[in-house]
């Protein structure tokens, strides 16, 4: 029988000797930088010198002060009512990291946010949060934020300004410029915000232009062609049993990707339908592996220029060949699709005809419950309009319009930016028609290709002000740079989808001398015209709540209040801030229009409590189907002359840009959490790179780390090569969102900026389909991936099967059953079971649902104060992630299957770590946890050596000193900057980053082992609560940070002693435990991945592997020994080899 092979890296696949060598080494490298630093050109410290230093240090310690430092206790002068020191308070708010508008619950302690979580009441993210949202704390506490208004003088000056000067100056220039002023923003939605923008622009005659880092022009334009209105539809992924993408990556970089992922998870779970197991099917046509492609059941490698052919071939098969749907025989359709029969397209693109027809037929079977999605950067070729037309046509043919796609009722407002508008603006700037330019929330100097010449056009604008969070690329070209606030510091609102209102409320006072963008607009408007933004105020101020109004005013003359005879005091006008404005707009625009029963005060309180107001029940269903305008398809010039046979000559590759699922558009790049969480596909950290298929690399003699020069229309950049399985042989891809020049000391210079490679044709941008020569200019670039730090060594860690096999055999792919007769526990009463009298915590992880998005990884960093260690440390195998997503390939190297596996401490019943700790720093508790006691740990690392899951992390340095900030974190990089990224005077552990630390979790120091604790601080908190209430902890009463944020609900946590708990109910025939043979008895069950496609030959298992059940009665040590040969080479629990 041919055993199915899983592999993590190409070295692993090809049995590289390096992998074999790593087997005996716990951590990939030795602490060579200290003793052996000569090779790095760093410190040259010998052993003797080290001894001298140590002795000196000890002497100093001994002579140091004999009692602890004097510390102070500082209570409040006036304690706020809701704050008790040490007690958390949650605020409902809206995420400000992108325009998707997910709901947040911000956990605050003593008035500072320490963790953000998804708001369960919010329909967009439904209680979950993506990695970028989880990392938003780092952006709030970012020390590199613009702290005060500055006069930049087009890069010539750097002087602080006060707010009064800013207001006067802006009011003056705007008044003078009038209609010749432009307000350029990123996507802004929300009733009060949009109202404010229109009030502001109306006052000065300013024009507003919206331009994002990445714009949805093409998608909206395609909608306009097809349906007459340029909208971004809302996609109901939770209704789509089949998803087909053409270049799009909805899970990784979709406009509302968290919403998509939640819906995707709903459909992806294995369920029973008509007595048979069922799950959704995902088919991706894409040039290189995207995050959606990672989760595809079937992937086809298609060059970017061929995507439109493939989409039209599927349409041809359905409408012309099979004559399905009402479009069959419609005028012009047959003729338009004439060039795209499956046979022709198969010849042009290399996608097999049978496969094309099969996908088409599957789509027809799932009509009305599927989504066809095109676009993304890889789809943005010259034929992008045709691609969108084809996708819209397919959705219309399949009846998905109005069934899984809503383009008419509650459409998305999450991407309103328009490249066309921006290009028009640049033209006007060039022509001297713009005198004043106000920029907020967008960064054209970073995102526009140089051919557009934004910088040149900016010179013709008399006055440029940039309002933003950093002194970024655009702000450096401005006259003044004005700080804005982070979403967690300011009031605001959002309307991500029409009719869904979400509130942004501040959870901390502004950290620096900042003012929110909205307040700046109000203040400027009022400076220009003192009658604006005034509101009547009666004295005494009106009560906030009606209930207070009922009570007699304390100290006031009761007679006057009671009689009501006194005339109402004449209202005086007072200045309004955005908070007042927000309340006013919500009162008039939302409260008044919804005919609500209670008072506005009741309504407002409920909005602040819930964070969201979603009054329209019809939003649960997509709006009525729109009528597809066949002319959108038939009038396309591209269809007359298909480009599917674009030739890629020898020594050339077709370039496609993609969006990084971690960094997104690159707008929030000063964030170590995101750089450190590895790319979901390549698993590379801290860099972007050119993905090239291994076969192509071999053909052109390219190696990993070779540096290529890529030139597209005058824009040139150099980027390293990464050999990525699953990339089309004629394609290379590069992620945008890296290579910021001016964002802060973390993000500056990480990776290369790929935006300039985009090519502007008319008023659209092309991001893919460039044929570029291969020009090697260097080699040896270090691309670092933690995935190579531990290897499978042939162990059977991933279980997967196909739906067909699973329907026939519920244990398919999971045949290895294990009896575990042995116990390490030897109780006084002769029993061999460890008692877990109350709770026993366990976890079930559904490999079918896990999409590898890294949200859990970042959530864990934020919850557990896990430090960011930087590229250099990860290269040495010293990553600190308590949870990681292991990505395994299987199948053919050119287009492999991918399995994602979240790997964290398995909290074993028979833990290998516990029995080897010489100081009892890791011990078992009565709730099944392997506790790690940091203050006991002396750092022998025996536990890590003995851990078969490689989930223990050792603090080689005082990482916490740099928490959570540094990309360097080599202690010695302070002295040897060339070992890092060239930064010499970085200010270590800058305030206010330490405010992001979770006060409930110990900050670990050097020389201490740490690992996942199952969020024991949350378990402890639940115990508090249960004791107070006198009831047991309910199921779901403890949610770990990873579980809480998981968009697809792949992680379930709970009490395994309770047979009705969710964690127990989730376990079924698909359950297995990783490395079960070792009898470590982990508390985490994984559920077999079920792929919805036909099995490959190597997946047809002939029979289950031999079991060892017959030895179950033998409780001696021999039984364990007998396990070993069956898994020859697996039981290699050798002690750490001392190679130093």
């Amino acid at each position: 029988m041919s055993e199915k092979r899983f592999w993590t890296t190409l070295e692993d696949l090809h049995n590289d000797p390096k992998v074999e060598q790593l087997r005996g080494e716990e951590f990939a490298g030795k602490p060579e930088e200290f003793f052996n630093a000569q090779s790095n050109g760093g410190l040259q410290v010998g052993r003797r010198e080290f001894m001298k230093w140590s002795a000196g240090a000890m002497a100093l310690v001994s002579a140091a002060c004999s009692r602890k430092r004097v510390d102070h206790l500082v209570p409040y002068a006036q304690q706020p009512e809701e704050i008790l020191p040490g007690v958390e308070v949650f605020y409902a708010s809206t995420c400000s990291e992108c325009a998707a508008g997910c709901g947040l619950l911000v956990r605050t302690r003593e008035g500072r946010p320490v963790k953000v979580e998804g708001n369960p009441l919010h329909p967009v993210n439904q209680g979950t949060l993506c990695a970028r949202g989880q990392a938003s704390l780092m952006n709030l506490y970012d020390p590199d934020r613009l702290r005060t208004p500055m006069r930049i003088g087009r890069g010539q000056q750097s002087a602080q300004l006060d707010w009064g000067t800013v207001d006067k100056e802006l009011a003056n220039v705007l008044r003078t410029a009038g209609k010749r002023s432009v307000l350029l923003t990123g996507t802004i939605h929300g009733p009060a915000r949009t109202q404010l923008l229109s009030d502001f622009t109306a006052q000065f005659g300013t024009r507003q232009v919206t331009y994002d880092y990445l714009n949805a022009d093409a998608l909206a334009g395609g909608q306009q062609q097809a349906y007459g209105a340029a909208v971004v539809p809302r996609y109901y992924f939770d209704r789509a049993e089949m998803l087909v993408t053409f270049g799009a990556d909805p899970l990784g970089s979709g406009i509302s990707r968290q919403e998509y992922a939640v819906g995707f998870g709903v459909q992806r779970k294995v369920r029973t339908e008509n007595g048979k197991a069922a799950t959704s099917r995902t088919v991706c046509f894409e040039p290189a592996m995207s995050m959606t492609g990672v989760n595809a059941d079937t992937r086809f490698l298609v060059r970017p220029t061929d995507l439109v052919d493939v989409a039209l071939a599927i349409a041809h098969h359905l409408v012309v060949a099979q004559k399905q749907s009402s479009f069959a025989g419609a005028a012009g359709v047959g003729a338009a699709l004439g060039n795209f029969s499956t046979q022709q397209v198969a010849q042009r693109t290399g996608v097999p005809q049978t496969q094309l027809e099969k996908v088409a037929n599957q789509l027809w079977d799932n009509r009305g419950k599927s989504i066809v999605l095109a676009g993304g950067l890889p789809g943005a070729t010259q034929d992008e309009a045709a691609l969108h037309a084809a996708a819209n046509f397919l959705n219309a043919v399949l009846g998905n319009e109005g069934a899984t796609i809503d383009g008419s009722r509650s459409v998305s407002q999450q991407a309103q930016g328009s490249l066309a508008d921006m290009l028009a603006l640049v033209q006007q700037m060039q022509g001297g028609q713009v005198d004043v330019l106000l920029i907020y929330g967008t960064n054209p100097a970073y995102t526009l290709p140089p051919a557009v010449n934004f910088q040149g056009a900016l010179k013709n604008v008399k006055y440029v002000a940039v309002i933003g969070d950093h002194l970024d690329e655009t702000a450096r070209l401005a006259d003044v740079a004005i700080p804005a606030l982070h979403g967690m510091e300011s009031w605001g609102d959002a309307e991500p989808q029409k009719g869904l209102y979400s509130i942004v409320q501040p959870t901390i006072l502004p950290l620096f001398n900042g003012r929110s963008f909205e307040d700046t607009l109000i203040s400027v408007a009022r400076t220009a015209d003192p009658t604006k933004f005034q509101m009547p105020q009666v004295t005494p101020p009106p009560p906030v709540f009606a209930s207070e109004a009922a009570a007699p005013a304390a100290g006031g003359p009761p007679a006057a209040a009671g009689a009501g005879a006194a005339p109402a005091p004449k209202p005086t006008l007072v200045d309004m801030d955005f908070h007042d404005y927000l309340i006013q707009v919500w009162k008039t625009n939302i409260y008044a229009k919804n005919n609500l029963a209670g008072t506005f005060e009741d309504f407002w309180t409920s909005v602040l409590r819930d964070g969201v107001f979603d009054p329209d029940a019809t939003r649960l269903q997509p709006g009525p189907a729109r009528k597809f305008n066949a002319a959108a398809l038939t009038s396309l010039p591209a269809l007359k002359a298909p480009r599917g046979n674009t030739q890629v000559p020898a020594n050339h590759l077709m370039l496609a840009l993609t969006v990084s699922p971690m960094m997104g558009d690159g707008s929030r790049n000063n964030n170590g959490f995101l750089f450190e969480a590895s790319d979901p596909v390549s698993k590379v950290v801290w860099d972007n790179f050119l993905s090239i298929s291994p076969a192509t690399a071999a053909k052109y003699k390219l190696e990993q780390g070779d540096i290529l020069e890529v030139a597209v229309n005058g824009a040139t950049l150099q980027a390293p090569v990464w050999l990525q399985p699953g990339v089309h042989a004629e394609v290379m891809t590069l992620q945008v969102g890296y290579g910021r020049q001016h964002v802060g000391s973390v993000g500056d210079g990480v990776g290369v900026n790929a935006y300039p490679l985009a090519q502007v044709n008319g008023n659209t941008a092309q991001y893919a389909g460039f044929v570029v020569p291969i020009k090697k200019v260097g080699s040896g670039f270090r691309l670092v991936s933690p995935q190579g730090n531990s290897y499978l060594h042939g162990r059977h860690i991933i279980h997967d099967t196909t739906l067909e096999q699973f329907q026939a055999n519920p244990r398919a792919g999971n045949e290895e059953g294990h009896e575990q007769p042995l116990s390490i526990w030897d109780n006084a009463d002769g029993s061999h079971e460890h008692p877990y009298p109350g709770y026993r915590w366990g976890m079930t992880i559904d490999l079918n649902a896990c999409i590898g998005c890294n949200a859990c990884v970042v959530a864990c960093h934020a919850e557990n104060n896990v430090p960011v260690v930087g590229k250099n440390q990860i290269e040495r195998g010293r990553e600190m992630d308590w949870i990681r997503i292991d990505r395994y390939y299987s199948g053919p190297v050119d287009n492999p299957d991918v399995s994602n596996q979240p790997m964290l401490c398995q909290q074993c019943g028979h833990a290998g770590c516990e029995s080897v700790c010489p100081v009892l720093a890791t011990v078992h508790n009565d709730e099944g946890l392997n506790l790690q006691v940091y203050n006991r740990c002396v750092g022998t690392r025996f536990c890590s050596n003995n851990c078969i899951y490689k989930v223990r992390r050792f603090n080689f340095y005082q990482y916490s000193d740099y928490y959570p900030y540094s990309k360097y974190t080599d202690s010695f990089t302070r002295f040897t900057p060339h070992m890092a990224y060239g930064d010499t005077d970085h200010n270590w552990r800058e305030s206010p980053l330490e405010l992001a630390l979770n006060p409930d979790v110990t900050v670990r120091s050097r020389g201490v082992m740490e690992k996942c604790s199952f969020c024991v601080q949350r378990i402890t908190a639940a115990h508090y609560k249960s004791q107070e209430l006198g009831v047991p902890i309910p199921d779901g009463g403890v949610k770990t940070a990873c579980q809480q944020t998981c968009p697809t609900r792949a992680i379930v946590f709970g009490n395994m002693n309770d047979p009705n708990s969710a964690v127990r109910r989730a376990r079924d025939t698909r359950s297995y435990r990783v490395l079960e043979d070792y009898n470590f008895q982990p508390s985490i069950d994984y559920l077999t991945r079920v792929r919805n496609r036909a099995p490959r030959p190597d997946e047809l298992r002939e029979k289950p592997r031999p079991e060892h059940a017959e030895q179950g009665e033998n409780k001696g040590i021999h039984a364990q020994a007998s396990l070993a040969p069956a898994q020859s080479g697996l039981v290699q629990l050798r002690p750490m080899e001392n190679k130093a």
Partner: protein
């Protein structure tokens, strides 16, 4: 030659060993804070308030039954009485001035735990542990002074010997109490205080 080298090595070893012993002793001494009684910015007398006037601890330290930290009273609590009581005394006027200015008093910390210890007052209050058990006869102290050593042994000793069980409905702890045949009253497993 070899001999002298050996001698040198021994000398070094002895020196290092001495330094280590000295260092450990110094560190150990530093850890014990018993008797520490620094002067405070306001000469607040617990003896006068809690002793002579019998004001209950939680009148000022309100919230200690809900907090993990014992709240040091904010100035508005002081002013609750002292806007009237002894309002003309200079020290009270100092507090009043600070309250008006919104400037908190910076008390000198006496009781301190390392950050790897997660101590919560509220369980102990709920279990009926008197404040004096750990903090000593505060009601007799004019200036607050550390009463006993705050080391893990003291915590564990109490957790083992005392029978403080809060909620009777708590099956977990009742089971724990009888587990392994010996009595464990409060939890003594590591995660109780360390995480």
């Amino acid at each position: 030659m070899i001999f002298s080298r050996l001698k040198e090595r021994w000398r070094l070893v002895t020196l290092v060993a001495l330094l280590i012993v000295l260092g450990i002793w110094k560190v150990a001494m530093a850890a014990s804070n018993v008797g520490y009684s620094p002067a405070q910015p306001i000469p607040f007398s617990h003896k006068l308030h809690a002793g002579v006037n019998h004001i209950p601890c939680q009148y000022c330290h309100a919230g200690v039954d809900r907090d993990t930290e014992s709240p040091i009273p904010p100035l508005n609590v002081c002013m609750g009485c002292h806007s009237v009581v002894d309002a003309n005394k200079p020290v009270i006027q100092k507090i009043a001035a600070a309250y008006k200015a919104g400037k908190p008093i910076q008390w000198v910390r006496v009781y301190d735990l390392p950050q790897f210890v997660k101590f919560a007052h509220r369980w102990h209050i709920a279990a009926g542990v008197a404040c004096q058990t750990c903090h000593g006869p505060v009601q007799d102290m004019n200036q607050i002074r550390q009463y006993r050593e705050f080391v893990m042994g003291e915590c564990i000793a109490c957790h083992r010997s005392q029978t403080y069980l809060p909620a009777p409905a708590d099956k977990v702890h009742r089971n724990l109490a009888t587990y392994h045949g010996h009595e464990v009253n409060a939890k003594t497993e590591c995660s109780t205080c360390h995480n």
